[in-house]
Amino acid sequence: MIKGYAGKFLEVNLSTGKTKEVRFDDETLRDYMGGRGLAAKILWDRLGRKWEEVEPLSPENVLLFLTGPLTGYYPGARICVSGKSPQSNGVVGSTVGGEFGVELRCAGYDGIIVTGQSEKPVYLFIKDADVEIRDASKVWGKDAKQTMTLLTRECRELLRKRYPLFGEWREPAMLYIGPAGENLVRTAVVAAKWAHAAGYGGYGAVMGSKRLKAIAAKGTGPLPEVANMKKVERLIQELCDGVYENELWRRWGTGSGGYETGAKTSSEPVRNWQDEWHDEKSFGVDKFENRVWVKQCWSDFGCPTNCLKLSVVRTGKFKGAITDNPDYELQAYLGPNLGIFTPEGNVYMASVIDDLGLCGIQTGNVLGFAAELYQRKILTEDDLDGLKLKWGDAEAFGALAKKIAYREGIGDLLSEGTYRAALKLGKMKKMDLLPYAVQSKGISIGAHGIRSGKDYPDIISYACSVQGGDHTSTAGLPLDGGGSELMEIFNDSGVYCNFNGFGVRRNFRFEFYRAVTGLPLTRKEWCSRRAIKTLQLQRAMLLLGGPDLKWIPKADDVNPPRFYEPLPSGPYKGKTTDKAAVKEKTKDYYRAVGWDANGIPATKTLKRLGLDDVDAAMRKLPT
């Protein structure tokens, strides 16, 4: 067995109520590692043959919660949630920070595979080898905070009764959904710790479709044994020593972005991306720091960066709202993107989103989309059930977010996410609304624009990514460089936080992998034989798509129309994306990853990687 793994996975069939242990051979673990890579492999093996027919929100979908061999060792633990995505109809490796992955590995499992659908609301309670499917009817319908409070109490009570001599039991780590997931909202998240979420992919809705409200895990064992503990310790120390020097993220997290990304790099969504520049000093990080942060350092397991800050609104009409920083993405999407430029309004929006179990990025995107339609009088007050959706009105946006989570009135339509809502509304209004939908492959684009050319994403980053608009998994060349999607596949398969991957030596992660697993791994091997397999599987399933939507290869590998409008103001006024350059770069990218001229993984590529069955499926795609 390869070192660094617990060695077994827990499979739970919610239709039958049966659980079992599953193991993967060394070759599979070597090629796909864990997390995102292994998710792609499991999903292809189990659903690949009928992928186009699998409805993501049906019992047929397979929901995965996977760690990797580096989880808990590499500072900043996360867990990867995956399955067939109700947003892209492909596969997204969606990670969320916290202690869940560590507890799971200490309980003896590398991951959980959930199949079927429960008749009644349930939650999973894992205590080492003991796994129970428990009634969740008393927390069904509850928001994030109530759910965590009630289930933490219940689980600790159970532990206390069962192990009276242990002493005080700590809380189990928990993943859960809010009302949005229960109501199958496509922008629903799998959440943790009130304000953490696996957002991209829409797996909160998949969890809801299975009537799985939460998973609580308590593991009392050690993390799985590694090949060279001394070396792992040295690498952890090296990483931390570097991070301790990084004042930017340790002090402000990504929280300085809410102002800087607009003012400095002109790449922040402002009023549904009608602009990407603002110079609103009311949104400066000093305002957040001095007005709402009550805890400067908030971390997940083993993390030296503590990019999170605990925020509480102390005054005014939003008094009592609680969230983390918000981080840059939620600052932007639930701030300037909605015309909101105060920390209080922003924290309020983030707390509403957290409580409902919605994705701040993608719900912020669809709220902005709706508000622009209101601005253009395409959506009226009547359409919005009486809401006046004016830019900057946090209360109105909060009210609409609630409608989305409960699928009330217009919320039912918007709960389908920006892309599907644009199609449906467009039909109703008899006009093309896609020019206002800032998304790629059904996934809203993260809060980093490409028009100014001053932010990190490239002009093909979203268009060519196998995870669409996901800003944490952007496509770029060279394939073995820092901006390559193959490197993100490493982080998401390892499974740890990519924020602790900045500023380290070029091959640090591969050294870390070796110290944990005992297996040598070069950058070349990773890029040319391993991660590339994951990428091909993800691309294949994305192109197969279905059943409600399919992407047309090449024709859909494009930027949203808005990214071709000139920036209307700021230091980069007039700048826009060069269409011809996007075309050229897309061609280069296809060539580099071994796709044909239409963006379909080529036979030669797939055969070289031993993915012959994928090739068979690809040859059936219409071109």
Partner: protein, 175 residues
Amino acid sequence: MKKKKEPIWIAREFTKCSGCRKCEIACSLFHERRIWPEASRVRVFMLVPGAEFPHLCAQCENYPCVKACPTNVLSVSEHTGAVLVDNKACTACGKCINACPGRIPHMHPTEKHILICDLCGGNPQCVRVCREGGWNVFKKVARREQTYSLYARKPEEVTQDLCAKFYGEKGEEFV
């Protein structure tokens, strides 16, 4: 002449705790040579998100755990003031847990003995890593005549206090 070791204490400031659990990692690596959160002598509780704090022995001035031990396997280190456990002799009866005002000791997850902070023989690893990262929840200080038992509080009680501080009047309802 070799200087005699003075008893020490770990001063603690819970409101600064980031919840990073580096103290647990360091503690379990030092004592168990593994990363093993539940075998750590210091455990970070997060009964409510944001209200994380490390739960560890406060070395009460009257050492009620030592007095309560029916088999006399607990003793006080002359050098450091820490409670020492004779692991081999401990019967894992749990009487020390009930005697502790904060219910701080807990059982080793796989071995048959209690876990209590031993101050790492005078160089506490949790203090080292916490200060190294600048969180400074912990500080090693000289032990004085002080009511250290005030710091032996149950997890719920500490959580309630932190919630009241961070989240205001409604905060305690989250516990």
